[in-house]
Structures are given as C-alpha cells and as structure tokens.
Symmetry: C2
DNA sequence: GACTTATTCAACCAAACAGTTGACAACTGG
DNA sequence: CCAGTTGTCAACTGTTTGGTTGAATAAGTC
C-alpha cells in the first residue's frame, strides 16, 4: 500500500478529481449532486470519491440514504510541506550559486583592473 | 495529452521520482549518478526522468556523453498556486461557518440565561 | 410489504504504467 | 579507428487505472 503523500498526489493528478475538490471547497455535497455535471456514470464518480477518501482528502457522513461528502483541507498541508521543503532547498542552492558567481566576477574584476 | 498540472501531480505521485527531485535540489547530477542508489535498471530511471521532464520539473543539458539533469523549481509554483487557491476558499468557508456557529451559541446562551 | 432513491460492490475491458532485457546511437580518449 | 562509457529506443510483461454495466444494500415513503 502506498504512503499517503503518494496517494494525495495521485488523487490530484486526475482533472475530474481536482474538479470535485474544487467544488467541495464551496460546500459539502452528496455523491449524486457531485455526479450530475459529468456525463460519466455515478459509479465512476463514486470510485473517484473513494480515491479522494483513501488519500484523506475527503470524508463521507451518512444522512438517511445520502452520503454528504466533506473536504478535509488539512491534507493540503502535507503536500505544501513537501513542496516548500524542496523549493526552499533549491532556492538556497541558487543563492549560494549566485554568491559563488558574484565572487568569481569580483575576482575577475580584480584581475582585469 | 494531459495538462501540465496533471502531469506534475502524476510525476510526484511516485516515491522514486519524488526522491529524484529531492536529490536534485542538492545539485545537478547525471542520469548514471542518479541511478546508482536504486537497484532498478538505468533504463527505468531514464524513463522516470522523462516523466519528470515532460512535467517540466527537470531539464537535461548535454555535456560530452553525459546529460546533467537540472531541477526547474519554478514548476512547484503551479502546484502551490492550485493548492493555495482552494485551501484559501475552504478556509474562508470554515470561518463563515465558525461565525454562524458562534451566532447560534450566542443565541442559545441568550435563551438559557 | 412493495416501491423509490442513493450509493456501493463485482466483474469486466481497454489503455497507461513501471519494470525488464537487448540493441543502438553518440561521444571520448588511447 | 576502436573500445569504452553514457544514455535512449523498442518490444515485451504484469499491474493499476478509469471507465462500463448489472446486481446488491440501505433507508425513506406509500
């Protein structure tokens, strides 16, 4: 079984699932309501929601026959943390590189003058 | 062909590819160097790098027979933008909900006292 | 109890994916 | 020019994925 971070990225790799997440930021919705705009079957949407659920992006409550779907936005933090960690590291490296280049330039300036 | 955002998420859904990205934040590296730590074939790593390249996360230069791989960290911004957009929207909704609940509580307090 | 609504389970299919091995291309250095 | 190094292309394989249809479950309504 894959780790959660992999599942979250994989879940959001599908445009339909990203769209579902986008719509859930507006408010909770039932499986049926969520399925309406698409011309694929309700079962397909149900599967998509299961993927989002397994990734921890979404939870379902029960309310009569309906299962209102709710967005769990905290999981976004997992991704943001991963992205920011490596972005920062990469940027740091570029700053160091900039510093080195600046030094080189300064040294050459010194030679030239 | 899928849109870039889908490709970026899909690319990072694989732990090996996330690991490659992590190592590239430290500095550029050749395909061979990148392949060494894993016990899968060089060809498999080459394929992974192609996926990262198609997603725009990585570029390859040519330098003799070697192809130093370089991380393009700006692409992270695409993801961050998507995530932040919907996170913000979700959080906004929760604040509104909090306000409503606070009002309800206040009203009940009023009744109780 | 029978019917309707809402959702999921199960079996199936085609396409994509992650890996393999083997051959080939491109470039270097003796 | 030949031998070695570095990387990719091609064909094949097993598994995962996104969709389908049809049947099953669960709850509410008449």
């Amino acid at each position: 079984m894959a780790d959660q971070l992999s599942k979250v990225f994989a879940a959001l790799a599908d445009p339909t699932r990203r769209d579902l997440v986008a719509r859930l930021t507006v408010g909770d919705a039932t499986v049926g309501d969520l399925a309406k705009p698409y011309d694929i079957s309700v079962q397909a949407i149900s599967k998509h929601l299961k993927v989002l659920e397994d990734a921890g992006l979404v939870t379902k409550a029960r309310q009569a026959q309906k299962r209102p779907v709710h967005l769990e936005a905290q999981v976004f933090d997992l991704m943001t943390a991963w992205i920011e960690r490596y972005r920062r590291q990469a940027e740091e490296r570029y700053s160091r590189l900039d510093a080195v280049l600046a030094d080189l330039n300064a040294a050459q300036e010194g030679l030239a003058s």
